[in-house]
Protein backbone atom coordinates (compact mmCIF):
# COMPACT_ATOMS: atom_id res chain seq x y z
CA UNK A 1 0.00 0.00 0.00
CA UNK A 2 1.30 3.41 -0.98
CA UNK A 3 0.22 5.83 1.70
CA UNK A 4 1.16 8.96 -0.21
CA UNK A 5 -0.88 8.31 -3.27
CA UNK A 6 -3.21 11.09 -4.36
CA UNK A 7 -6.50 9.61 -5.39
CA UNK A 8 -8.53 11.09 -8.21
CA UNK A 9 -11.90 11.28 -6.46
CA UNK A 10 -13.94 12.12 -9.54
CA UNK A 11 -16.38 9.71 -11.07
CA UNK A 12 -18.30 9.93 -14.30
CA UNK A 13 -21.73 8.85 -15.34
CA UNK A 14 -22.90 9.13 -18.95
CA UNK A 15 -20.15 11.61 -19.78
CA UNK A 16 -20.88 13.87 -16.79
CA UNK A 17 -17.99 14.17 -14.35
CA UNK A 18 -18.66 14.56 -10.63
CA UNK A 19 -15.84 15.92 -8.47
CA UNK A 20 -16.48 13.16 -5.95
CA UNK A 21 -18.99 10.31 -5.68
CA UNK A 22 -21.04 11.76 -2.81
CA UNK A 23 -24.52 13.07 -3.56
CA UNK A 24 -27.65 13.87 -1.59
CA UNK A 25 -30.60 11.48 -1.75
CA UNK A 26 -33.69 13.09 -3.23
CA UNK A 27 -36.19 14.42 -0.71
CA UNK A 28 -33.79 14.52 2.21
CA UNK A 29 -31.95 17.71 1.29
CA UNK A 30 -34.56 20.00 -0.28
CA UNK A 31 -32.77 21.83 -3.08
CA UNK A 32 -29.75 22.34 -0.89
CA UNK A 33 -30.97 25.68 0.48
CA UNK A 34 -32.08 24.26 3.81
CA UNK A 35 -28.73 22.60 4.44
CA UNK A 36 -26.46 25.38 3.20
CA UNK A 37 -25.91 26.49 6.83
CA UNK A 38 -24.38 23.09 7.51
CA UNK A 39 -22.72 22.06 4.26
CA UNK A 40 -20.63 23.88 1.67
CA UNK A 41 -22.60 22.71 -1.34
CA UNK A 42 -19.51 23.21 -3.52
CA UNK A 43 -17.99 20.20 -1.82
CA UNK A 44 -20.66 17.75 -2.98
CA UNK A 45 -20.48 15.48 -5.99
CA UNK A 46 -24.03 16.54 -6.76
CA UNK A 47 -27.15 17.97 -5.22
CA UNK A 48 -30.07 15.71 -6.06
CA UNK A 49 -33.22 17.74 -5.59
CA UNK A 50 -36.58 16.85 -4.06
CA UNK A 51 -38.98 15.26 -6.56
CA UNK A 52 -40.66 17.82 -8.80
CA UNK A 53 -43.88 17.36 -10.77
CA UNK A 54 -45.58 19.28 -13.55
CA UNK A 55 -47.97 21.06 -11.17
CA UNK A 56 -47.83 21.64 -7.38
CA UNK A 57 -48.54 18.55 -5.26
CA UNK A 58 -49.82 19.02 -1.75
CA UNK A 59 -48.67 15.66 -0.42
CA UNK A 60 -50.20 13.44 2.25
CA UNK A 61 -51.94 14.33 5.51
CA UNK A 62 -49.86 14.36 8.70
CA UNK A 63 -48.32 12.61 10.59
CA UNK A 64 -45.99 12.02 7.67
CA UNK A 65 -42.87 10.84 9.47
CA UNK A 66 -41.93 8.72 12.43
CA UNK A 67 -38.85 7.11 13.83
CA UNK A 68 -38.33 3.34 13.98
CA UNK A 69 -35.29 1.49 15.33
CA UNK A 70 -32.32 2.34 13.14
CA UNK A 71 -34.37 4.38 10.73
CA UNK A 72 -37.59 6.20 9.96
CA UNK A 73 -40.78 5.88 7.98
CA UNK A 74 -41.96 8.67 5.70
CA UNK A 75 -45.10 9.26 3.74
CA UNK A 76 -44.56 12.83 2.55
CA UNK A 77 -46.47 12.16 -0.65
CA UNK A 78 -44.08 14.23 -2.79
CA UNK A 79 -45.27 17.68 -1.73
CA UNK A 80 -43.62 20.09 -4.13
CA UNK A 81 -44.33 23.46 -5.75
CA UNK A 82 -44.28 22.17 -9.31
CA UNK A 83 -41.80 22.78 -12.11
CA UNK A 84 -42.42 26.53 -12.60
CA UNK A 85 -41.51 27.55 -9.07
CA UNK A 86 -38.75 24.96 -9.05
CA UNK A 87 -37.06 26.53 -12.07
CA UNK A 88 -37.54 30.10 -10.88
CA UNK A 89 -36.44 29.57 -7.32
CA UNK A 90 -34.57 26.33 -6.70
CA UNK A 91 -32.61 26.11 -9.92
CA UNK A 92 -31.80 29.81 -9.68
CA UNK A 93 -30.50 29.25 -6.15
CA UNK A 94 -28.29 26.39 -7.31
CA UNK A 95 -26.69 28.54 -10.01
CA UNK A 96 -24.37 30.13 -7.47
CA UNK A 97 -22.71 26.79 -6.64
CA UNK A 98 -20.07 24.84 -8.44
CA UNK A 99 -21.61 21.42 -8.04
CA UNK A 100 -23.57 19.13 -10.28
CA UNK A 101 -27.36 19.24 -10.16
CA UNK A 102 -29.52 16.18 -10.65
CA UNK A 103 -33.23 16.90 -10.75
CA UNK A 104 -35.53 14.20 -9.41
CA UNK A 105 -38.78 13.97 -11.38
CA UNK A 106 -42.12 12.50 -10.34
CA UNK A 107 -45.54 12.15 -11.94
CA UNK A 108 -48.79 10.23 -11.88
CA UNK A 109 -48.82 9.44 -15.58
CA UNK A 110 -46.19 9.12 -18.31
CA UNK A 111 -47.42 12.42 -19.74
CA UNK A 112 -46.76 14.21 -16.45
CA UNK A 113 -43.21 12.91 -16.36
CA UNK A 114 -42.65 13.93 -19.97
CA UNK A 115 -44.00 17.39 -19.23
CA UNK A 116 -41.36 17.98 -16.55
CA UNK A 117 -38.57 16.42 -18.59
CA UNK A 118 -39.40 18.69 -21.53
CA UNK A 119 -39.54 21.79 -19.35
CA UNK A 120 -36.06 20.98 -18.06
CA UNK A 121 -34.58 20.13 -21.45
CA UNK A 122 -33.08 23.56 -22.06
CA UNK A 123 -32.11 24.32 -18.48
CA UNK A 124 -28.32 24.45 -18.59
CA UNK A 125 -28.02 24.17 -14.82
CA UNK A 126 -29.51 20.67 -14.89
CA UNK A 127 -26.76 18.10 -15.42
CA UNK A 128 -28.85 14.99 -15.13
CA UNK A 129 -32.37 13.73 -14.47
CA UNK A 130 -33.36 11.13 -11.93
CA UNK A 131 -36.76 9.63 -12.64
CA UNK A 132 -38.59 8.50 -9.52
CA UNK A 133 -40.71 5.61 -10.74
CA UNK A 134 -40.67 4.14 -7.30
CA UNK A 135 -42.23 6.40 -4.73
CA UNK A 136 -44.36 4.16 -2.54
CA UNK A 137 -46.36 7.03 -1.06
CA UNK A 138 -48.28 8.21 -4.06
CA UNK A 139 -51.53 6.43 -4.61
CA UNK A 140 -52.32 7.18 -8.20
CA UNK A 141 -49.96 4.69 -9.67
CA UNK A 142 -46.40 5.98 -10.09
CA UNK A 143 -45.41 2.78 -8.34
CA UNK A 144 -46.65 0.59 -11.18
CA UNK A 145 -43.90 1.90 -13.45
CA UNK A 146 -41.39 0.83 -10.88
CA UNK A 147 -42.66 -2.66 -10.17
CA UNK A 148 -43.48 -3.96 -13.62
CA UNK A 149 -40.55 -4.51 -15.95
CA UNK A 150 -42.54 -3.82 -19.13
CA UNK A 151 -43.92 -0.56 -17.79
CA UNK A 152 -40.45 0.50 -16.66
CA UNK A 153 -38.97 -0.29 -20.06
CA UNK A 154 -41.71 1.70 -21.75
CA UNK A 155 -41.49 4.82 -19.59
CA UNK A 156 -37.70 4.80 -19.80
CA UNK A 157 -37.85 4.70 -23.57
CA UNK A 158 -40.39 7.50 -23.77
CA UNK A 159 -38.45 9.73 -21.41
CA UNK A 160 -35.21 9.11 -23.26
CA UNK A 161 -36.85 10.35 -26.46
CA UNK A 162 -37.49 13.82 -25.05
CA UNK A 163 -34.75 14.22 -22.43
CA UNK A 164 -31.73 16.32 -23.31
CA UNK A 165 -29.84 15.40 -20.14
CA UNK A 166 -28.71 11.89 -19.22
CA UNK A 167 -31.47 9.89 -17.52
CA UNK A 168 -31.12 7.90 -14.32
CA UNK A 169 -34.03 5.60 -13.46
CA UNK A 170 -34.56 5.33 -9.71
CA UNK A 171 -35.61 1.83 -8.74
CA UNK A 172 -37.74 0.61 -5.88
CA UNK A 173 -36.61 -2.27 -3.69
CA UNK A 174 -40.24 -3.40 -3.37
CA UNK A 175 -39.84 -5.96 -6.17
CA UNK A 176 -39.04 -9.64 -6.43
CA UNK A 177 -36.03 -9.24 -8.71
CA UNK A 178 -34.04 -6.00 -8.76
CA UNK A 179 -31.87 -7.48 -11.53
CA UNK A 180 -34.87 -7.81 -13.81
CA UNK A 181 -35.88 -4.18 -13.18
CA UNK A 182 -32.32 -2.96 -13.74
CA UNK A 183 -32.24 -4.81 -17.05
CA UNK A 184 -35.56 -3.29 -18.10
CA UNK A 185 -34.24 0.22 -17.42
CA UNK A 186 -31.05 -0.53 -19.34
CA UNK A 187 -32.98 -1.98 -22.26
CA UNK A 188 -35.17 1.13 -22.30
CA UNK A 189 -32.06 3.24 -22.77
CA UNK A 190 -31.41 4.55 -19.27
CA UNK A 191 -28.00 6.13 -18.80
CA UNK A 192 -27.86 4.83 -15.28
CA UNK A 193 -29.95 3.60 -12.38
CA UNK A 194 -30.18 4.64 -8.76
CA UNK A 195 -31.24 2.46 -5.87
CA UNK A 196 -32.68 1.92 -3.44
CA UNK A 197 -35.73 3.97 -2.76
CA UNK A 198 -37.51 3.30 0.53
CA UNK A 199 -38.97 -0.05 1.54
CA UNK A 200 -42.67 0.04 2.35
CA UNK A 201 -43.31 -0.32 6.06
CA UNK A 202 -45.93 0.32 8.72
CA UNK A 203 -46.02 1.32 12.38
CA UNK A 204 -48.90 0.94 14.82
CA UNK A 205 -49.25 2.75 18.13
CA UNK A 206 -50.25 -0.11 20.41
CA UNK A 207 -51.68 2.09 23.16
CA UNK A 208 -53.89 4.08 20.81
CA UNK A 209 -54.36 1.04 18.54
CA UNK A 210 -53.96 3.33 15.56
CA UNK A 211 -51.60 3.73 12.62
CA UNK A 212 -48.85 6.18 13.43
CA UNK A 213 -48.77 7.62 9.90
CA UNK A 214 -51.91 9.13 8.41
CA UNK A 215 -51.06 7.27 5.19
CA UNK A 216 -50.89 3.99 7.18
CA UNK A 217 -47.81 2.86 5.25
CA UNK A 218 -44.54 4.74 4.86
CA UNK A 219 -41.17 4.22 3.26
CA UNK A 220 -38.48 2.83 5.52
CA UNK A 221 -35.06 4.44 5.21
CA UNK A 222 -31.95 4.86 7.32
CA UNK A 223 -29.31 2.43 8.61
CA UNK A 224 -31.90 -0.35 8.99
CA UNK A 225 -32.09 -0.75 5.20
CA UNK A 226 -28.38 -0.51 4.42
CA UNK A 227 -27.66 -4.26 4.05
CA UNK A 228 -30.60 -4.55 1.65
CA UNK A 229 -29.18 -1.67 -0.39
CA UNK A 230 -25.76 -3.33 -0.54
CA UNK A 231 -27.28 -6.59 -1.71
CA UNK A 232 -29.47 -4.92 -4.34
CA UNK A 233 -26.69 -2.71 -5.70
CA UNK A 234 -24.57 -5.82 -6.02
CA UNK A 235 -27.29 -7.75 -7.83
CA UNK A 236 -28.02 -4.85 -10.18
CA UNK A 237 -24.32 -4.38 -10.90
CA UNK A 238 -24.06 -8.04 -11.84
CA UNK A 239 -27.02 -7.67 -14.20
CA UNK A 240 -26.30 -4.45 -16.14
CA UNK A 241 -23.46 -2.42 -17.66
CA UNK A 242 -24.88 1.06 -16.93
CA UNK A 243 -23.60 2.96 -13.86
CA UNK A 244 -25.38 2.82 -10.52
CA UNK A 245 -25.94 5.50 -7.89
CA UNK A 246 -26.15 3.55 -4.64
CA UNK A 247 -28.11 4.68 -1.60
CA UNK A 248 -29.86 3.30 1.43
CA UNK A 249 -28.91 3.95 5.02
CA UNK A 250 -25.52 5.56 4.53
CA UNK A 251 -24.38 6.71 7.97
CA UNK A 252 -20.62 6.75 7.45
CA UNK A 253 -17.91 6.67 4.78
CA UNK A 254 -17.64 2.94 5.41
CA UNK A 255 -21.26 2.48 4.30
CA UNK A 256 -20.50 4.50 1.16
CA UNK A 257 -17.39 2.44 0.43
CA UNK A 258 -19.43 -0.71 0.87
CA UNK A 259 -21.96 0.39 -1.76
CA UNK A 260 -19.15 1.26 -4.18
CA UNK A 261 -17.47 -2.09 -3.62
CA UNK A 262 -20.83 -3.70 -4.36
CA UNK A 263 -20.97 -1.88 -7.68
CA UNK A 264 -22.07 1.74 -7.23
CA UNK A 265 -20.30 4.46 -9.19
CA UNK A 266 -21.64 7.15 -6.88
CA UNK A 267 -23.52 7.19 -3.60
CA UNK A 268 -26.25 9.32 -2.03
CA UNK A 269 -26.80 10.17 1.62
CA UNK A 270 -30.45 10.30 2.73
CA UNK A 271 -32.17 10.05 6.09
CA UNK A 272 -28.94 10.31 8.04
CA UNK A 273 -28.62 13.95 6.94
CA UNK A 274 -31.29 14.49 9.59
CA UNK A 275 -28.98 13.02 12.21
CA UNK A 276 -25.70 14.54 11.02
CA UNK A 277 -26.44 17.57 8.84
CA UNK A 278 -22.90 17.68 7.39
CA UNK A 279 -22.71 13.92 6.84
CA UNK A 280 -22.25 14.27 3.06
CA UNK A 281 -18.99 16.16 3.52
CA UNK A 282 -17.81 13.77 6.23
CA UNK A 283 -18.47 10.82 3.91
CA UNK A 284 -16.57 12.52 1.06
CA UNK A 285 -13.58 13.22 3.34
CA UNK A 286 -13.67 9.72 4.79
CA UNK A 287 -13.76 8.14 1.35
CA UNK A 288 -10.79 10.22 0.23
CA UNK A 289 -8.72 9.13 3.25
CA UNK A 290 -9.75 5.54 2.72
CA UNK A 291 -8.81 5.63 -0.96
CA UNK A 292 -5.41 7.12 -0.17
CA UNK A 293 -4.84 4.56 2.56
CA UNK A 294 -5.59 1.79 0.09
CA UNK A 295 -3.30 3.26 -2.53
CA UNK A 296 -6.04 3.84 -5.11
CA UNK A 297 -5.01 6.15 -7.93
CA UNK A 298 -8.65 6.74 -8.71
CA UNK A 299 -11.77 6.15 -6.65
CA UNK A 300 -13.41 4.52 -9.65
CA UNK A 301 -11.15 1.52 -9.02
CA UNK A 302 -13.38 0.74 -6.08
CA UNK A 303 -16.52 0.22 -8.15
CA UNK A 304 -17.62 -3.39 -7.94
CA UNK A 305 -14.23 -4.43 -6.57
CA UNK A 306 -15.63 -6.75 -3.90
CA UNK A 307 -14.14 -10.23 -4.05
Amino acid sequence: MDKNVHTDMSVSIAGVTFQNPVMTASGTFGSGMEYSDFVDLNRLGAVVTKGVSSVPWEGNPTPRVTEVPGGMLNAIGLQNPGIDVFIERDLAFLKQFDTRVIVNVCGHTVEEYLDVVERLADEKRVDMLEINVSCPNVKQGAIAFGTEADALFDITQRIKKVAKQPVIMKLTPNVTSIAEMAKAAEAGGADGISLINTITGMKIDVEKQKFVLANKTGGLSGPAIHPIAVRMVYEAHQAVQIPIIGMGGIASWQDAAELMLAGATAVAVGAMNFHTPDLTVKVADGLADYAARHGLSKIEDLIGAVQ
Partner: protein, 270 residues
Amino acid sequence: MSSERAKRTLTVVENRQLAAGVYDLRLRYRENEAPEQVIPGQFVGVYSRDSGRILPRPISICGWDPKTRTLRLVFRTVGAGTLEFSRCQPGETLDVLGILGNGYDLEKLAGKRVLLLGGGIGAPPLLGLAEAISEKNRALGAGQVTAVLGYRTNDLFLDREFAKAADVVIATDDGSAGFHGNVIEAVRSEKPAFDVICACGPLPMLRGVKALALERDCPCYLSLEERMACGVGACLGCVTKTAKVDGHSHVKNARICTEGPVFEAREVLI
Protein backbone atom coordinates in the same frame (compact mmCIF):
# COMPACT_ATOMS: atom_id res chain seq x y z
CA MET B 1 -20.99 33.59 18.40
CA SER B 2 -22.84 32.16 15.49
CA SER B 3 -26.20 33.03 14.04
CA GLU B 4 -26.35 30.04 11.77
CA ARG B 5 -28.16 26.86 12.56
CA ALA B 6 -25.73 24.25 13.77
CA LYS B 7 -25.46 20.92 15.53
CA ARG B 8 -23.56 21.50 18.75
CA THR B 9 -22.41 19.42 21.68
CA LEU B 10 -23.77 20.94 24.90
CA THR B 11 -22.85 20.08 28.46
CA VAL B 12 -25.51 19.27 31.02
CA VAL B 13 -25.13 21.66 33.95
CA GLU B 14 -28.29 20.74 35.82
CA ASN B 15 -31.19 18.32 35.48
CA ARG B 16 -33.96 18.55 38.01
CA GLN B 17 -37.36 16.93 38.29
CA LEU B 18 -40.15 19.53 38.56
CA ALA B 19 -43.19 17.25 38.73
CA ALA B 20 -44.04 13.65 37.92
CA GLY B 21 -42.30 12.96 34.59
CA VAL B 22 -41.38 16.63 34.05
CA TYR B 23 -37.73 17.66 33.95
CA ASP B 24 -35.84 20.95 33.90
CA LEU B 25 -32.64 20.48 31.91
CA ARG B 26 -29.93 23.14 31.67
CA LEU B 27 -27.44 22.79 28.85
CA ARG B 28 -24.38 24.95 28.28
CA TYR B 29 -22.85 25.85 24.93
CA ARG B 30 -19.08 25.88 24.56
CA GLU B 31 -17.50 29.28 24.27
CA ASN B 32 -17.77 30.73 20.76
CA GLU B 33 -20.56 28.32 19.88
CA ALA B 34 -23.44 30.07 21.58
CA PRO B 35 -26.25 31.34 19.37
CA GLU B 36 -26.36 35.11 18.86
CA GLN B 37 -30.04 35.38 19.49
CA VAL B 38 -32.71 33.19 20.99
CA ILE B 39 -36.36 34.21 20.75
CA PRO B 40 -39.13 32.76 22.94
CA GLY B 41 -41.08 30.21 20.91
CA GLN B 42 -38.02 28.87 19.09
CA PHE B 43 -36.94 25.29 19.67
CA VAL B 44 -34.02 22.92 19.40
CA GLY B 45 -33.67 19.30 18.28
CA VAL B 46 -32.09 17.11 20.93
CA TYR B 47 -30.36 13.93 19.78
CA SER B 48 -30.37 10.62 21.59
CA ARG B 49 -27.02 8.99 22.26
CA ASP B 50 -28.48 5.69 21.05
CA SER B 51 -27.46 5.37 17.39
CA GLY B 52 -30.68 3.47 16.68
CA ARG B 53 -32.65 6.67 17.36
CA ILE B 54 -31.68 8.81 14.43
CA LEU B 55 -34.06 11.77 14.62
CA PRO B 56 -33.73 14.85 16.82
CA ARG B 57 -36.45 15.38 19.46
CA PRO B 58 -37.96 18.85 19.06
CA ILE B 59 -38.08 20.64 22.43
CA SER B 60 -39.09 24.29 22.95
CA ILE B 61 -36.73 26.70 24.59
CA CYS B 62 -38.01 27.60 28.04
CA GLY B 63 -35.20 30.00 28.86
CA TRP B 64 -31.88 31.31 27.61
CA ASP B 65 -29.14 32.96 29.61
CA PRO B 66 -26.61 34.53 27.23
CA LYS B 67 -24.18 35.30 30.09
CA THR B 68 -23.72 31.65 31.00
CA ARG B 69 -24.56 30.38 27.48
CA THR B 70 -27.17 28.17 29.11
CA LEU B 71 -30.28 26.85 27.46
CA ARG B 72 -33.20 25.75 29.59
CA LEU B 73 -35.48 22.97 28.38
CA VAL B 74 -38.48 21.71 30.31
CA PHE B 75 -39.92 18.47 28.99
CA ARG B 76 -42.15 15.56 29.83
CA THR B 77 -41.00 11.97 29.47
CA VAL B 78 -43.18 10.25 26.90
CA GLY B 79 -40.90 7.73 25.17
CA ALA B 80 -37.38 6.41 24.93
CA GLY B 81 -35.75 9.67 23.87
CA THR B 82 -37.16 11.92 26.58
CA LEU B 83 -36.63 9.14 29.14
CA GLU B 84 -32.95 9.11 28.21
CA PHE B 85 -32.72 12.92 28.54
CA SER B 86 -34.38 12.75 31.97
CA ARG B 87 -31.52 10.57 33.18
CA CYS B 88 -28.73 12.86 32.01
CA GLN B 89 -26.33 13.88 34.76
CA PRO B 90 -24.34 17.12 35.06
CA GLY B 91 -21.10 16.87 33.11
CA GLU B 92 -22.57 14.62 30.44
CA THR B 93 -23.12 15.97 26.95
CA LEU B 94 -26.01 16.03 24.50
CA ASP B 95 -25.96 16.94 20.82
CA VAL B 96 -28.42 19.67 19.96
CA LEU B 97 -29.59 21.02 16.61
CA GLY B 98 -30.50 24.67 16.83
CA ILE B 99 -31.70 27.28 17.07
CA LEU B 100 -34.77 26.28 15.04
CA GLY B 101 -37.96 27.92 13.88
CA ASN B 102 -39.47 31.35 14.38
CA GLY B 103 -40.46 32.57 17.82
CA TYR B 104 -43.10 35.04 18.94
CA ASP B 105 -42.91 38.57 17.57
CA LEU B 106 -42.17 40.54 20.75
CA GLU B 107 -42.72 43.88 19.01
CA LYS B 108 -46.37 42.96 18.46
CA LEU B 109 -46.82 41.96 22.11
CA ALA B 110 -44.95 44.55 24.17
CA GLY B 111 -47.13 47.23 25.73
CA LYS B 112 -50.31 45.20 25.17
CA ARG B 113 -52.44 43.18 27.56
CA VAL B 114 -51.21 39.73 26.66
CA LEU B 115 -53.02 36.54 27.62
CA LEU B 116 -50.77 33.47 27.71
CA LEU B 117 -52.52 30.12 27.61
CA GLY B 118 -50.38 27.10 28.43
CA GLY B 119 -51.72 23.56 28.47
CA GLY B 120 -49.56 21.07 30.36
CA ILE B 121 -46.15 20.72 28.76
CA GLY B 122 -47.11 23.64 26.50
CA ALA B 123 -46.37 26.04 29.35
CA PRO B 124 -42.52 26.05 29.27
CA PRO B 125 -42.01 28.15 26.10
CA LEU B 126 -44.52 30.68 27.44
CA LEU B 127 -42.38 31.27 30.54
CA GLY B 128 -39.54 32.70 28.47
CA LEU B 129 -42.15 34.72 26.60
CA ALA B 130 -43.74 36.07 29.81
CA GLU B 131 -40.32 37.16 31.05
CA ALA B 132 -39.39 38.84 27.77
CA ILE B 133 -42.69 40.70 27.47
CA SER B 134 -42.78 41.89 31.07
CA GLU B 135 -39.22 43.16 30.78
CA LYS B 136 -40.21 45.20 27.72
CA ASN B 137 -43.39 46.35 29.46
CA ARG B 138 -41.38 47.66 32.41
CA ALA B 139 -39.27 49.74 30.03
CA LEU B 140 -42.37 50.99 28.22
CA GLY B 141 -44.36 51.55 31.41
CA ALA B 142 -47.32 49.87 29.73
CA GLY B 143 -48.79 46.44 29.10
CA GLN B 144 -49.80 43.51 31.21
CA VAL B 145 -49.26 39.75 31.14
CA THR B 146 -51.78 37.18 32.37
CA ALA B 147 -50.88 33.49 32.25
CA VAL B 148 -53.59 30.85 32.47
CA LEU B 149 -51.88 27.53 33.02
CA GLY B 150 -53.66 24.21 32.73
CA TYR B 151 -52.55 21.04 34.50
CA ARG B 152 -54.06 17.60 35.00
CA THR B 153 -53.67 17.66 38.78
CA ASN B 154 -52.14 19.77 41.53
CA ASP B 155 -48.70 18.41 40.60
CA LEU B 156 -47.86 21.88 39.24
CA PHE B 157 -44.62 23.05 37.64
CA LEU B 158 -43.21 26.47 36.67
CA ASP B 159 -46.25 28.20 38.23
CA ARG B 160 -44.17 30.12 40.78
CA GLU B 161 -41.76 31.32 38.12
CA PHE B 162 -44.67 32.50 35.99
CA ALA B 163 -45.93 34.45 38.99
CA LYS B 164 -42.80 36.62 38.88
CA ALA B 165 -43.57 37.78 35.34
CA ALA B 166 -47.35 37.52 35.06
CA ASP B 167 -50.69 37.41 36.85
CA VAL B 168 -51.27 33.67 37.07
CA VAL B 169 -54.50 31.67 36.94
CA ILE B 170 -54.18 27.93 37.56
CA ALA B 171 -56.67 25.46 36.10
CA THR B 172 -56.68 21.72 36.79
CA ASP B 173 -58.64 18.96 35.10
CA ASP B 174 -59.47 17.35 38.44
CA GLY B 175 -60.02 20.56 40.37
CA SER B 176 -57.29 19.72 42.88
CA ALA B 177 -55.78 23.18 42.48
CA GLY B 178 -57.11 26.51 41.19
CA PHE B 179 -59.99 26.57 38.77
CA HIS B 180 -61.70 23.23 38.08
CA GLY B 181 -61.66 22.86 34.29
CA ASN B 182 -59.53 23.62 31.27
CA VAL B 183 -57.78 26.88 30.39
CA ILE B 184 -60.53 28.11 28.08
CA GLU B 185 -63.16 27.56 30.74
CA ALA B 186 -60.88 29.34 33.21
CA VAL B 187 -60.63 32.37 30.90
CA ARG B 188 -64.41 32.50 30.52
CA SER B 189 -64.86 32.29 34.27
CA GLU B 190 -62.05 34.58 35.47
CA LYS B 191 -62.46 37.12 32.62
CA PRO B 192 -58.94 38.53 32.48
CA ALA B 193 -58.65 41.60 30.23
CA PHE B 194 -56.56 41.06 27.12
CA ASP B 195 -55.78 42.43 23.66
CA VAL B 196 -53.84 39.49 22.26
CA ILE B 197 -53.46 35.76 22.97
CA CYS B 198 -50.39 33.50 22.79
CA ALA B 199 -50.97 29.80 23.34
CA CYS B 200 -49.13 26.50 23.40
CA GLY B 201 -50.63 23.13 24.26
CA PRO B 202 -52.42 20.11 22.84
CA LEU B 203 -54.31 20.48 19.56
CA PRO B 204 -57.86 20.31 21.01
CA MET B 205 -56.95 23.16 23.35
CA LEU B 206 -55.46 25.20 20.49
CA ARG B 207 -58.67 24.75 18.51
CA GLY B 208 -60.58 26.15 21.47
CA VAL B 209 -58.14 29.05 21.73
CA LYS B 210 -58.56 29.87 18.07
CA ALA B 211 -62.34 29.90 18.49
CA LEU B 212 -61.97 32.23 21.47
CA ALA B 213 -59.75 34.60 19.47
CA LEU B 214 -62.22 34.69 16.59
CA GLU B 215 -65.06 35.35 19.01
CA ARG B 216 -63.15 38.22 20.68
CA ASP B 217 -61.71 39.37 17.37
CA CYS B 218 -58.21 39.65 18.76
CA PRO B 219 -54.81 38.65 17.39
CA CYS B 220 -53.77 35.17 18.48
CA TYR B 221 -50.45 33.36 18.11
CA LEU B 222 -50.36 29.58 18.41
CA SER B 223 -47.32 27.37 18.80
CA LEU B 224 -47.94 24.15 16.84
CA GLU B 225 -46.44 20.68 17.07
CA GLU B 226 -46.01 17.94 14.52
CA ARG B 227 -43.76 14.94 14.04
CA MET B 228 -40.50 16.13 12.57
CA ALA B 229 -37.56 14.53 10.82
CA CYS B 230 -35.03 17.13 9.65
CA GLY B 231 -36.15 20.13 11.75
CA VAL B 232 -34.69 22.50 9.16
CA GLY B 233 -37.28 22.63 6.38
CA ALA B 234 -35.87 20.01 4.02
CA CYS B 235 -38.04 16.91 4.45
CA LEU B 236 -41.56 18.44 4.45
CA GLY B 237 -42.56 16.07 7.22
CA CYS B 238 -43.94 18.63 9.65
CA VAL B 239 -46.53 20.61 7.73
CA THR B 240 -49.75 22.23 8.87
CA LYS B 241 -52.66 23.22 6.64
CA THR B 242 -52.76 26.95 5.97
CA ALA B 243 -55.49 29.31 4.84
CA LYS B 244 -53.34 30.85 2.11
CA VAL B 245 -50.83 29.33 -0.27
CA ASP B 246 -47.59 28.74 1.62
CA GLY B 247 -44.36 30.40 0.55
CA HIS B 248 -42.38 27.20 0.11
CA SER B 249 -44.41 24.58 -1.73
CA HIS B 250 -47.27 26.87 -2.82
CA VAL B 251 -49.88 24.32 -1.73
CA LYS B 252 -51.32 25.60 1.58
CA ASN B 253 -49.01 23.43 3.67
CA ALA B 254 -46.53 25.37 5.79
CA ARG B 255 -43.57 23.74 7.52
CA ILE B 256 -43.98 23.99 11.27
CA CYS B 257 -40.21 23.73 11.81
CA THR B 258 -39.42 26.61 9.48
CA GLU B 259 -42.42 28.89 8.90
CA GLY B 260 -43.52 28.13 12.48
CA PRO B 261 -43.79 26.78 15.06
CA VAL B 262 -45.60 30.04 15.97
CA PHE B 263 -48.41 30.99 13.60
CA GLU B 264 -51.21 33.57 13.70
CA ALA B 265 -54.29 31.45 14.46
CA ARG B 266 -56.14 32.67 11.35
CA GLU B 267 -53.30 31.53 9.10
CA VAL B 268 -53.61 27.86 10.04
CA LEU B 269 -56.48 25.42 9.55
CA ILE B 270 -56.26 23.37 12.71
